[in-house]
Amino acid sequence: MRSPSIVTIDPSVSKARPIAARFLALLTVVLLSGGCVTTNEIAQFPLGSYHEAIVSVTSQSEAALQTEYEWSLERFKREAGQGDVPALLQLQLEFPPDSAFAWRYSGEGGGGAVFLAVADSRRKLAAINDLLLDYAGLLTQLAGADDQSQFDPESEASRLKESAESLASTLGVAPDDQGLSLFSTVAAKAASAYLQDKRSDLLVDVLEAGIEPLENLVGNVQAALSISALGIAAEYQAEFNRLRQEFGDAGDDGRRQVILDLIDLNRKTTAQFDLLRSISQTYDTLLETQHQLIAAVREKRQPTLRGLLTATQDIQRQYEQLRNEPEGE
C-alpha cells in the first residue's frame, strides 16, 4: 500500500539523504552511548541581560557628553555676544561642490568652536555605540534568543507524532504506539545535542573574534570620556571666572547669590566627573564580560555578568541623581 502522505514527503527525503547519512552516524553514537540529552536542554544561551546592559551603558555615555555640549554652547553664546571670539567665521557653513546635500563648517578642522567639535564627537560616539549594540544583538541572536535560530526538540517530536497519527487515521490502521515516535524523538534529541554544540562553537568564535575590536573600542570610548572630563573642567573654569567677576561687582546680597551659584556649579561638576568615571570603568567591565561569556559558553552554563550589571545599575543611579537634582540650594 502507498500512502499519499509518504509520496509528498519523498522529495525532502531524497534531498536530505546525504545529511541523513551523516546524521545517522551521529544518532548511532548517541544511542550507543546512551547519551541523549534531555528535552529541557534546548540549545540556546539567553543573553538578554547582556544586551540590556549594553543598551544602558551606551545610552549613558552619549547622555554624559550632553553636559559638555550644553556648557560649551552656553559659553560660546555668551562670549560671542561680548565679541570675544570670531563667532561669524566659526559658524559659517560652506557647501562643497561635489554633492548637493553636503555641508560643513568653513573653519579650520571642521569648525573651530568647541561646542561644534563636541557635537561631532557625540555623533561619532553614538555611531560607535550603535555598532556595539548591533554586536550585542547579533550575539543574542546567535545564542538562540530569536525564533528563527531555535530548534525545539519537544515541538519537533510532537509535530512528527501528529503527522504519523494523521497518516494512520487516513489509512484506517491502528499504529503501534510504542514504535510511533521511536526514531523521530531520538533523532530530535540528538539533533538538539548536535545543535547545542554547534551553537557553542559559533558563539565562542564570535566572542573571541570580538576581543581585539572591543579592546580598541573601549580604549577609544574611554579617550572620548577623558577628553570630555577635561572639557567639563575647562567649562567649569570659564564659569568660575564669570562668577568671580559677578562677585567682584556685586553688593552683599549679590555676593551671597554668587556663592550659592558656585556651590551649585561645584555639585554639578563633581557629579558629572563621577558619572564619566563610572561610565569609563563600566566600559572596562565589557572586556571582562567578554571573557566571562566565553568561559560560560564553553562550560555550557549561564554567565553571571555580575560586574557588568552592577556597573550599569550604578551609572543609571548616578545619572538619575544628576538629572533629578534641584536647581540651586
Partner: protein, 112 residues
C-alpha cells in the same frame, strides 16, 4: 603627537589655569594688580580650547578605524548566524527523514 600625550598636556594646562585663577583671587584680596595674571589666564584658556578641538578632531579620526573593525566583526557574526540557521534547517530535514522511518514502522506493525 599621540592622543594620549595631548591629553596629558591638556590636563596640565587645565591644572595651570586653575592655579592662575587662584593667584588672581589672592592678588585681588590683597589689593594688588592682577591684570597680568588675568591676561595670561585668558590666553591659556584660548590655547586650552584649541587643544580640546584638536583632540576631539583627532579622536573622531581614530574612531573611524574602530568603527571599521566593529563593522567587520558584525559581518562575521551575521555569517555565523546564517551558518547556525542553516544547521537548524538541516536538522529539521533529518528529523523529517526519521519521521518517515517511524511512519513506516508503525504502519507496518499496524497492518501485520
Amino acid at each position: 603627537m599621540k592622543q594620549a600625550d595631548k591629553l596629558r598636556i591638556l590636563n596640565f594646562l587645565v591644572f595651570l589655569r586653575g592655579k592662575l585663577q587662584t593667584l588672581s583671587i589672592e592678588l585681588t584680596a590683597e589689593g594688588a594688580n592682577h591684570d597680568d595674571v588675568d591676561d595670561r589666564e585668558k590666553r591659556l584658556a584660548a590655547e586650552i580650547d584649541k587643544l580640546r578641538v584638536n583632540l576631539m578632531r583627532q579622536w573622531q579620526a581614530n574612531a573611524k578605524s574602530v568603527m571599521s573593525d566593529m563593522q567587520s566583526l558584525n559581518q562575521t557574526a551575521q555569517r555565523k548566524i546564517r551558518e547556525m540557521r542553516s544547521e537548524i534547517d538541516k536538522m529539521k530535514k533529518v528529523t523529517e527523514v526519521m519521521n518517515v522511518f517511524d511512519q513506516v514502522l508503525s504502519l507496518v506493525r499496524g497492518l501485520v
